[in-house]
């Protein structure tokens, strides 16, 4: 595990490390270098712990045991149970649009900017393995029909942000921001009551341009969007956000939906649910009374 790097910002420290499949940052509104380094290391440990435990790419974690159970019941630990409870709630509230079993659809879709779309038969076979309602979930035991797979990607990263932020907040009273690949949480305003200035990335030119700026004193911020993951078919641009009931991308979903809420997980869920509304995303967010940006 490569140790995190530490850089001095204007009057705060920025710790960087790689995790969750992307760049991770922790901003710390304090002056002591050693304390900053210790806190960043703690955030890195938590990020890697959650990544190793819930990533579907690893062969030795709970997700892998569930996906290879072949229909046998699997007893899960308390943390996994809580995440599954949360996923169940999101599935129920989105009337099936938010579904952690929809990961298998990637077997037939590749969003590389090309023009390939799955044929009818292939899609029907994969759709037979999608649907949280097919799963029997009586905490703490999960029983899933063979061939189905769950993927906590839609929740895991935001959960890791909140969890790491909460751990650090217990060890320092200084304000800090935990940012894993754009999903972030600020524990409080910087010294003197100044907010943290958050730049919202331009989905078209990731890394090159900042499209918007959000001043955040406390709370979570998350963005969902398709940046470069889309296909063009019959002249239509189809983002990578799929409707698990039809297996097809949701038409007219915004390029990027950024939501600000009381936790990063809440912001992430709301931005995902909004994107799943396609063109209705803005109205959905307005109704729920959260601060948001749509590009």
């Amino acid at each position: 595990m490569t140790p995190p790097t530490l850089e001095r910002g204007e009057d705060f420290w920025v710790g960087r490390f790689a995790a969750m499949g992307g760049p991770c940052e922790v901003l710390l509104d304090l002056d002591d270098r050693d304390e900053a380094l210790a806190l960043v290391a703690c955030a890195q440990d938590e990020a890697l712990r959650i990544e190793h435990k819930f990533s579907r790419y690893r062969a030795d974690n709970i997700i892998d045991r569930i996906n290879r159970a072949g229909g046998e019941p699997v007893e899960v630990d308390a943390e996994t149970a809580r995440l599954l409870d949360y996923a169940a709630l999101c599935h129920e509230m989105s009337a099936g649009r938010f579904d952690i079993t929809s990961g298998v659809l990637r077997r037939v879709w590749t969003f590389d900017g090309g023009a390939r779309v799955p044929d009818e038969a292939a899609l029907r076979d994969v759709l037979a393995l999608v649907g949280w309602e097919r799963v029997t979930w009586r905490t703490p035991v999960l029983t899933m029909p063979p061939g189905m797979e769950i993927d906590l990607g839609g929740i895991g990263k935001e959960y890791a942000v909140d969890s790491a932020a909460a751990l650090l907040a217990r060890r320092t009273s200084s304000a800090l921001v935990v940012n894993f690949g754009g999903d972030l949480y600020a524990t409080g305003p910087r010294r003197g009551g100044r907010p943290w200035a958050i730049g919202v990335d331009d989905p078209e030119r990731t890394g090159q341009g900042v499209l918007d700026r959000v001043d955040l004193t406390r709370g979570g911020l998350a963005t969902s969007g398709d940046a470069r993951r889309f296909v063009t078919w019959q002249g239509r641009r189809l983002g990578h956000i799929l409707d698990p009931r039809t297996g097809w991308p949701i038409e007219g979903a915004p390029r990027a939906v950024t939501v600000i809420a009381s936790t990063c997980l809440e912001a992430g869920t709301l931005s995902t649910l909004a994107s799943l509304q396609g063109p209705g995303a803005a109205e959905f967010l307005r109704d729920s009374g959260v601060e948001f940006r749509i590009h």
Binding site: A78, D85, L89, S262
Partner: protein
């Protein structure tokens, strides 16, 4: 105007006596729930996720049942303790259920943001469940054995007196 003060005092005493004359009903002292055989009254209440929590659905588990409200100061102090209990005994078959008795749900939600509850929270604005359990003070904590009998009934919250509840839980958890 000499008479005014005497008049004032007389009317004051009259008022006090009037209050006293109101129908006097002996306060029904809470029935002692200490008797081991008392069976825990059942309930069916919504939890934070909108699902219904019932005592029967917890059959086979030892239940720590707590009654609380957002405006009750000792209740806030008991939340970290209940979090710890769930963490320590959750896997061993303890279910922690905290029944909120706030009349205003928003007040309860605001409380839960500041005082995270890593256990099941159910809502009973009518107070019927509390009445069934003869709750005499806030908070009140009950340890209910696997067969539904009330083992311990503890009123108020004193950080120094939590061991009594914990030993009851450990005893009840033994197979």
């Amino acid at each position: 105007m000499q008479r005014a003060p005497r008049l004032m005092i007389a009317s004051l005493l009259g008022l006090a006596l009037a209050v006293a004359a109101m129908p006097v009903r002996a306060a029904d002292a809470p029935a002692p729930a200490k008797s081991a055989s008392a069976h825990a009254p059942s309930f069916a209440l919504p939890d934070r996720l909108g699902k219904t929590v019932t005592l029967d659905s917890l059959a086979g588990k030892v239940v720590l049942l707590d009654f609380w409200a957002s405006w009750c100061v000792p209740c806030r102090q008991s939340f970290p303790w209940m979090n710890a209990l769930r963490e320590k005994y959750g896997a061993k078959g303890l279910a922690v259920v905290a029944i909120n008795l706030d009349k205003d749900r928003a007040a309860a939600d605001a409380f839960l943001v500041k005082n995270p509850a890593a256990f099941t929270v159910a809502f009973d604005a009518s107070g019927k469940t509390a009445e069934a359990y003869r709750v005499a003070a806030m908070p009140s904590t009950y340890v209910i054995a696997k067969d539904g009998t009330i083992l311990v009934r503890h009123t108020g919250f004193d950080p120094k007196k939590t061991s009594e509840v914990e030993t009851a839980i450990e005893g009840a958890l033994k197979p």
